[in-house]
Symmetry: D2
Amino acid sequence: MAYKIKAYRRKVNYYETDKMGITHHSNYFRWFEEARIHFMSQTAYPYKRVEKLGIVMPMIAASAEYKHPTFFDDEVIIKSWLTFFNGYKTTLQFEVINAETNQLCVTGETKTAVLNAAGTPIRLQREFPEMYEDWLSVLGLVPED
Amino acid sequence: MAYKIKAYRRKVNYYETDKMGITHHSNYFRWFEEARIHFMSQTAYPYKRVEKLGIVMPMIAASAEYKHPTFFDDEVIIKSWLTFFNGYKTTLQFEVINAETNQLCVTGETKTAVLNAAGTPIRLQREFPEMYEDWLSVLGLVPED
Amino acid sequence: MAYKIKAYRRKVNYYETDKMGITHHSNYFRWFEEARIHFMSQTAYPYKRVEKLGIVMPMIAASAEYKHPTFFDDEVIIKSWLTFFNGYKTTLQFEVINAETNQLCVTGETKTAVLNAAGTPIRLQREFPEMYEDWLSVLGLVPED
Amino acid sequence: MAYKIKAYRRKVNYYETDKMGITHHSNYFRWFEEARIHFMSQTAYPYKRVEKLGIVMPMIAASAEYKHPTFFDDEVIIKSWLTFFNGYKTTLQFEVINAETNQLCVTGETKTAVLNAAGTPIRLQREFPEMYEDWLSVLGLVPED
């Protein structure tokens, strides 16, 4: 299947700011998750479906670089794309862009495992070959604005 | 058992403030939960034990009145006490007090159900009579500072 | 001005769930805030503009009643409307509705003050009569889905 | 001054878990902040004092590696120490350890700038030489449990 992936958009919520007047840095990791789930919702395997199949994808590593702050009510575009996938581990990269100024504010990366309900790593290519193929088909696909 | 319950203490975290420079109002409901769990940890039935017995206590209603703001790094005392308990519903009340000034900042109330894992209400007096007695013994007991 | 207000829509984020598998009750107060800001963004006085005029609206009281849980990825409609406004205090009511089942999940109410930057109550009718009239014009206006 | 720094301890809150039943990964960045502020509170320059001097320390980069999950009510020890400091940038490292099992659960690193209120980088050695010396004195100092 040839996907066209749309980037994720949202606004900065008031409760996501801190007393410095900017978005608290921890929230970007939550936005990365929102963007990743939005990304997956555009494939044949939205995260809810993945979980129903008995698969969870716990975080192994996460990082962010903060270039410019975002502020209450800013609209941000969050691009997420899969940069690595071998059937039992994923890497995604993220860009948070101010939708009005087009400024790149934050970049990030997350690595997850692919586990079954018992917490054992699974190899998608063997156990869920269709999901494996579907994810391969979006590998490297950068979303449009 | 005659309990002496200690109030819960914590500091306001930086990430709990918002751009107004004060603790975001939603966080007090999280602190009420911390205080409730701290309260229960001083009885024979800490919440973790309760959950292991297959019981959950989802929220039915929650409210707060905000009298004075709290600020980053303020130490607060949170008193919580059980004001109603009939075996399948609980009501707790809360006071958030600035530990330095003794000022009463926020008051609150939460009501929870008592359900089994399947989401069905249970009557503790029949199914867990010892827990029922234990909770009755703390009914109305206001914690010390 | 005769407004037509649209209700606010959003999805339940993964990080908003807790180990019970449902949306943590504290998050509804954050959603109420999102809905209130979305509501105001449809009037002549979005909250960002209000703050630029030197006005803040800190919470005086907030409450919620939880009728049915919401779950990860559920789409919810949040209706918010102004039920009381006298120039220096506001009351809003909220309904959180599951967009798929139309089930009313949570209701709520928030009361805010209207203060200047120094924390002193202000009377909008005297100091910002146009804002006062604008808000009066949406008093009682229930948003559409 | 020869400091002896104590590690930070706290419990995993219920609202910090997600539907996987474990602490949501974003919360560790909040705990790192708590630990950093606890660390600074043991020096002559607690963060509140630093902010009163007109200095803020916004995040430049943050990362975490997740080795083992933590669960509701787990007591965790969070060690934080300063690994780099040149007067206008800081790097801290973090370890989150399960206090009962002594298992290392999460490691992390944060980099912050040192800015004045206007958002301009400042060189502490020139503008706040005593603070600069104080921070140098804790460089590399690993906290005790």
